[in-house]
């Protein structure tokens, strides 16, 4: 492995952040200038949203089921099994729904974006696009950012709902909790803060997934090996950022709205 001086290392990192910020900014700013690629946005929404639905549904359902199972064994010791609906509801809406859905979509789509755009870079298709008078930022990045933000919002709602269902199934079938009681406590415990936090997170996560995926794709170098590296880095970076941002959004929300 080649050793580089701390100064060059720092410059490289600052340049990467600058490049990422530029791509993320232009990805959003392009929404306010023509041409707008609605066809590409719809196509990406289908790929990202409909394509991710099976994995999001399955992981959402079983996350709720696992959460109920773990919570039930603890609650049983204190004779508070009736609170299981509240625990599943708060856990899914505030944290697990957005985070698990974000991680699933990051694994599936950040990698897809990085590899697709990366392949276009190394085969000169991006240069060809620029040479043909088309802005790759408008044609490739903006539709992906818009579609990911939009679809992750709805995927998270679906994941939350299926998590409730998974928790309800485990509670009633394995622990004999009345399903009406489960659903009413799960519903009643939610307040504006929980729903706001749970729906603000997918918007941020969608932005992270798409901009990170596109950034690693656009900066891919070094042939197929470089594309492979970009794909891995996109998944790793977006997953870490999702979990980090989740912590800070939760903290910020608690500071604004109280516990």
């Amino acid at each position: 492995m080649e050793l580089i001086s701390p100064g060059d290392f720092a410059k490289e990192k600052v340049q990467s952040v600058q490049e990422y910020a530029g791509i993320a900014f232009r990805g959003v700013a392009n929404l306010f200038s023509r041409p707008r690629y609605f066809g590409d946005m719809t196509q990406q929404a289908d790929l990202i949203g409909v394509g991710s639905l099976p994995i999001v549904a399955l992981t959402g359902f079983f996350t709720g089921a696992a959460l109920a199972q773990n919570s039930a064994s603890t609650l049983q010791r204190f004779g508070s099994l009736s609170l299981i609906g509240q625990l599943v509801s708060l856990g899914m809406v505030r944290e697990l729904g957005p985070v698990i859905t974000g991680l699933m979509v990051a694994g599936r789509n950040a990698s897809g974006m990085a590899s697709e755009i990366g392949s276009m870079v190394v085969t000169e298709q991006i240069d060809a696009m620029r040479a043909l008078g088309t802005d790759p930022m408008k044609k490739l990045v903006t539709p992906r950012v818009v579609s990911t933000v939009f679809m992750l919002f709805f995927l998270t709602i679906i994941s939350d709902a299926l998590g409730f269902a998974g928790g309800g199934w485990v509670s009633s079938v394995l622990f004999g909790v009345d399903s009406h009681q489960y659903w009413s406590t799960a519903w009643q415990v939610l307040v504006f803060q929980d729903v706001f936090m749970g729906l603000a997170k997918p918007v941020l996560f969608g932005f992270i997934i798409s901009t990170i995926g596109c950034y690693y794709g656009i900066t891919a170098r070094g042939g197929t090996q470089g594309v492979g590296r970009a794909t891995t880095q996109a998944v790793v970076a977006s997953s870490i950022l999702i979990i980090t941002v989740d912590f800070f959004v939760t903290r910020l929300s608690m500071t604004i709205f109280g516990q």
Binding site: M120, E124, D127, A128, A131, G133, T134
Partner: protein
Amino acid sequence: MASPPSVAEQPSKPSRGPASVALDFENVSIGFEDRQILDGISFQLRLGETKAIFGVAGSGKSTILKLALGLLKPDSGRIRLLGEEITQMSEDQLFVLRQRVGIVFQESALFDSLTVRENVAFRLLEEGNLPESEIEERVREALSFVELEHTVDLYPSELSGGMRRRVGIARTIITHPEVLLYDSPTGGLDPVTSNTIIELLVKQRDVYKTSSLLVTHRLQDAFTMGTHYFDKTENKMKPLPPGSRPTVPMRFLILRDGHIIFDGDLEDLRETRDEYIREYIS
């Protein structure tokens, strides 16, 4: 039989005023990661002229094409394309100017998720102001120029290397650009396919009078272009009459260590006494 383009049609010493220049490099330098690729090079591509650029691998031939189109910015120097200084232009301004220029990439750079039709029509579809019937007609016209009409519904992965290059040429010429840039259009192809592509380039030069920069490793391709003309009546490339000084608008430029060591026509190249060039062309 149609005669080759006469000296009168293609003046041997055209004026050097800005109006007659398609592309002008003035003292252009660029380097990547501590390595100087081009070191203060200056040359002009005159309107209607084709200039072949030679040089060993890594000598900066493809970099010249990317600089000419504004895909790369020089470290210093000025580049004027169709009379406009492009070195200080923003990407948005360049998008407008690039509509008057075409480039054929080394590996054709076709969009692999689009069909041949969509690839060739890409620029027209992006402009979005033409009816579908006219786009279809122009796609057919461009594909018939490269004799690949039958491939319209295929994907690039279903084409051979030579066919991909020809589709790349069709995609480039569909809007009839004023300047064409070819990056090793025959690299890695068999002699028959190479000859087909060179014939297309000669046709573009002699029929449409398009100014072109041709980067190539294959000397014989450039020599063929310098010694042949396109006969419109017979619709094929033919050699110039023997014994006459070539009259086609074809010049040659040789790069070495970031500098231009030769810029002249075929006769100048044949008569050069420079040892390196003689060894290079032998």
